[in-house]
Every structure is written in structure tokens, then in C-alpha cells.
């Protein structure tokens, strides 16, 4: 018995904190989205238990905007923006990360270059957001000035202030910030591939393309799974960059789910709707999490 108590004392403090500050609020949020109030002392629910919050959110223009989709102009709705973000960001950082990791292998001082690229992962996202806004600013930034030099005057403007370029500038910025993640993981993965394997292929006269597709990419599969899973999770939960750089604007043109949740919560005090968006976000995140967990814990 003493043994059991001693063993339990290792786990209980951690479990107590997790239960109170993570698990209980998560459950309460889910229930809140169905108009059930589990939070003592306040009443956040007006209607009766139902799915009305889901109907309201899913049919709102902020979430999915049919007019924007039809005319393919922004805003198209928060969830569409999140999807666009993934469709551009995911292939870009994955391919860029792999190619840069392979390319930097034989470079003198490659660890310094890798550190330079990784810096975006080290700094607060708030600072990253300001740097994105800065770099795309007409007066201050280098990007609009480059387009001015190239004679493309339609892009010589503050990108974050116009509906057609606001989201794109944030996506490009997030790729810039997060490529360091995939480069670092792929570099570590490459270092663990036995040198003899690649040497042997080279001696056999295999061209680089074959080595890349037949040896390196298959062996780095575990890294790719992690990079893809983590990137999707991040992009779905993205908040800081949008909040600081554009506040979701102009006119909702760069609104994303996490920021919409915050808007409902803090600006409109629509707690049940806010909880609904949070729950929807979690439902979308969940399959990625499950697949990743199954992959990470296989063989245990």
C-alpha cells in the first residue's frame, strides 16, 4: 500500500493540473457549443440544448462566404482561408525544407545558414507578424519596392491593407517563418541516413534524381509525416500572425478560424458561438492528431 501511494505521488500533481486547467475546460467548451453550461457561477447560455450554434456558425458569412467563393474574391470565409493557407504553405515548406536540407549538406558553414533560416521559429510570432507587415509595407518594406523596380506597379502597395493581397502576404510570411522547422528536421533525418548507402548508389552511377527519390525521400518518410502533421496543426490554429498583422482585415479578407473564435469571445461576447468555432476547430484538427499519434506510437 505504501508502495502504491509513493508511486501515485509522482503522477497526481501533474494529473491534477491537467484535469483542472485543460481537460475540464475542454469538456465545458464542447458542452457550451450545445448550449449546456458546465461553468459554475455564471450563465452563458440563452437558448435551450440544441445544434442551433452550429447552424448559425456554419451558415455565417464570416465562416464560409458563398459570394466570395463564387466570385473568387476575398473574403471567402475563415475556414476557406485556413484551407487556402494549408494548400499553399504545406507543399511550400515541405519541399523547400527537403531541398534546402539536401542542398546545405555539402556547404561550408551550413550550420550557420540553417540557424539563419531557423531564426523564424525562435522569435515570438508577434514579432514575426510585425516583420511581415514591415516587409510588405509600401513605404518601409522590400517586397513592394522590388515589384516597383520590376515595373509591376499593381503590387507596389501595402499588401496587408488590400483584400486581394492581405491573406497572400501573411501566407508568404508564414512560409518564411516556418521553413526553418522542416529544414531542421530534414537535416537531422539526413544525418541519420548511413553515408555508405548514398556512396554505394553514387559508385553505381545513380544520378542525383534517383538518389533523391529512391533513397533519401523513402528513408525520410517518418520526418515527412511529422512535418506534414505539425504544419497542418499549426496552420489551422494560426492566430498571432493574423491578429497582429491585419486583425483579419481588411473587411475580413484575412480572417481565420482562431481569430474568428476570439472575435466572438472578446468583441461580441457571443460565448456559445465562440465555443462552437473552437469545437469545430478541434474536430478538424482531430483526424490529423489521431493519424500522427498512431504513427508516432506504432510498435509500442
Amino acid at each position: 500500500m505504501k508502495d502504491v501511494l509513493e508511486k501515485a505521488s509522482f503522477l497526481i500533481p501533474a494529473l491534477l493540473l491537467i484535469f483542472t486547467f485543460v481537460i475540464y475546460p475542454t469538456i465545458a467548451t464542447i458542452l457550451l457549443s450545445f448550449n449546456i453550461n458546465l461553468i459554475p457561477g455564471v450563465n452563458l447560455v440563452e437558448g435551450s440544448t440544441s445544434l442551433e450554434n452550429y447552424v448559425k456558425v456554419l451558415t455565417s458569412e464570416e465562416f464560409i462566404n458563398p459570394t466570395g467563393l463564387r466570385t473568387s474574391s476575398f473574403p471567402m470565409g475563415a475556414i476557406v482561408h485556413n484551407v487556402i493557407w494549408i494548400l499553399i504553405h504545406l507543399p511550400a515548406t515541405t519541399i523547400l525544407g527537403l531541398l534546402l536540407a539536401v542542398f546545405l549538406q555539402n556547404i561550408k558553414g551550413s550550420s550557420i545558414i540553417r540557424s539563419m533560416i531557423f531564426l523564424g521559429m525562435v522569435i515570438p510570432m508577434v514579432v514575426g507578424a510585425l516583420m511581415i507587415a514591415f516587409s510588405f509595407n509600401k513605404d518601409m518594406g522590400i517586397v513592394p519596392s522590388i515589384f516597383k523596380c520590376l515595373g509591376i506597379l499593381s503590387l507596389y502597395k501595402t499588401w496587408t491593407s488590400y483584400p486581394d493581397t492581405a491573406l497572400l502576404s501573411l501566407i508568404i510570411g508564414s512560409i518564411w517563418l516556418w521553413t526553418g522547422f522542416s529544414v531542421t528536421l530534414y537535416s537531422a533525418g539526413l544525418a541519420s541516413i548511413p553515408k555508405e548507402l548514398i556512396e554505394a548508389a553514387k559508385i553505381d552511377g545513380a544520378p542525383f534524381r534517383v538518389i533523391l527519390f529512391k533513397i533519401i525521400i523513402p528513408l525520410l518518410r517518418p520526418v515527412t509525416v511529422t512535418v506534414v502533421a505539425m504544419t497542418i496543426l499549426w496552420v489551422l490554429k494560426i492566430f498571432d500572425i493574423v491578429y497582429v498583422a491585419t486583425r483579419g482585415g481588411p473587411g475580413g479578407a484575412s480572417m481565420v478560424m482562431a481569430l474568428l473564435m476570439w472575435d466572438y469571445f472578446a468583441r461580441m461576447n457571443a460565448y456559445t458561438l465562440s465555443a462552437t468555432i473552437a469545437t469545430l476547430l478541434t474536430i478538424i484538427v482531430l483526424p490529423v492528431v489521431i493519424l500522427w499519434i498512431r504513427y508516432a506510437t506504432r510498435g509500442e
Binding site: 508511486k7 509522482f10 491537467i18 542542398f103 556547404i107 522590400i142 520526418v223 469571445f265 473552437a278
Partner: protein, 288 residues
Amino acid sequence: MKSLIRMLREFKMTPVKWLIANTIAWLIGFVWILPFIGIFMASIRPFEELVEGWWNFASFHPTLEKYYEALFHPYYPLWRGLINSLIITVPSTIIPVLLAAMASYAFARFSFPIKNYLFLTMLFIMAVPQQMMVIPLFFMMNSIGLLDTYLGLILIHSSWGIPWITFFLRNYFSMIPKEYEEAALVDGATYWQIFTRIVFPVSLPGIISAAVLQFAWVWNDFFFALVFLLSPEKYVATRILPSLKGEYHVDWGLLSAGSILVMLIPVLLYFALNKYYIRGFTGWALKG
């Protein structure tokens, strides 16, 4: 020089090719840090020079004025934000690392009925969005008087950090050979003695890695700080920074100086403890 020749032979490169490849690589690195150079220039150059482009050095009069302005801003003094960030971040690192180390020891060494389910729950929590807990926590904190307090935010950050640190350290602990611990058990040591005298010291590199990443994560966090700290005098650095933007006119010099000050600690941490930082990062992800 000798090593360079060996390298060239190894990769079957001609010197010209080698030079081109290296130049391109360094150019890529340079392009990547251009925004950093940009805001650094914006932070030390007066506005009249900046409108000509920060890359234009026709006239160059560096000044530290904007740093002073940011630190002692009349409404949002950044010095207080930096202090507040430290007050939040230090305990929010120590508490979860200690508690998670204990929990991961239990997960790595003990067998108990619902162990695997508990561990899976921890994994799930790692990926649940922060957005999922703030509404109930906001009202719960309010009713127990912890809203808008350092303690409240520290508790939230600590709880939030425990799952991933537990996951990370459990992998680390499983790699330590059990022989020492078994010998100590035979000699009549308690689990606590084994944990504090053997497991913890032996795993110190892993524990430092976890602490470094948790510290950086809490320092960089914006969302929790935005929701749970309401009085401006308690704002952390990441919360103050966007407020320096101003209502009508954006003062890029001020924002840039503020940005440099806010990122200073995580960047220094990264360079000073690079080995631990990268290990924490890759060890966590490459395990799969």
C-alpha cells in the same frame, strides 16, 4: 585546405561548382534574414532616412532613441512588459518541467491499470488548440479570483506545458539503462530517492532541453496572455509590442526597436543553448 580538397574529391565537385553552390547557399541565408536586417535598420535610423528605404545608405545617422522610447513609453512601457514576461515565464518553466519529469518517470517505469489510456490522453491534449479552453477558464479564473493575476496565467501555462514535456521526457527516460535503479531498489532505496539521485541527474540534458523549449514557448506566447491578463501594468512583452503601433500613425521605428527587445531573450537562448534547443525540437518530432 586539405579538408577542402578532400571534400571536393568526396562530392566529385569542381572548385567552380563548389564556389557557385556555396555562394547560392549563403545568398539564401542572407535573403532569409533580410527582414531581420530591415527592422534592425528601422530601429536605429531616423524616419527621414527610412522613407528612402532602409537599404538606402546615402545618409546614415544611427541612433538608439527608439529603444529608449519603447522602453519608457508613457502608456505601454516595454521595460515593465519584459519584467512581467520574466515573472510569468520562469515559474511557468520550472513547475511543468518538475511535475512532468515526475509523471514521465511514472510512465516510463511503473505499471498501473489505465496507464496507456492516460498516456494517450496526454498525447491528445498536446494537440488540442488553446482556443478550446479559454472561455471556461476565463470565467473559472474570474470566480476564484485568479483572472488578471500572474499566478493564474502561470498555472495555465504550467498545465499546458505538462503534456508535451511528459511525452518528451518519457522517451528520454526509457533510454536510460535500468541497472542502476534496480541495484538501488535492491539496496532499499525509495522511488523518490532513485528519481532525485539517479534518474533526474542522469537525464539533465533532456530536462534542460525541455526547459529551454518551454521557456521559449511561454515567452513567445501571445494568446493566453491576451485573454488572461487585462490590466496594462501586467501586460507581458508580447502583449505590449502590438500596442506600440499607435492609433493613427504607425511608428515603425518604435515597433522595430520593440521587436528587437522582445525577441532578444529567445534568440540569445537559442544561440547560447543551441544543442539543447535543437535536441528538444528534433527529439520530440523525430521519435516517430
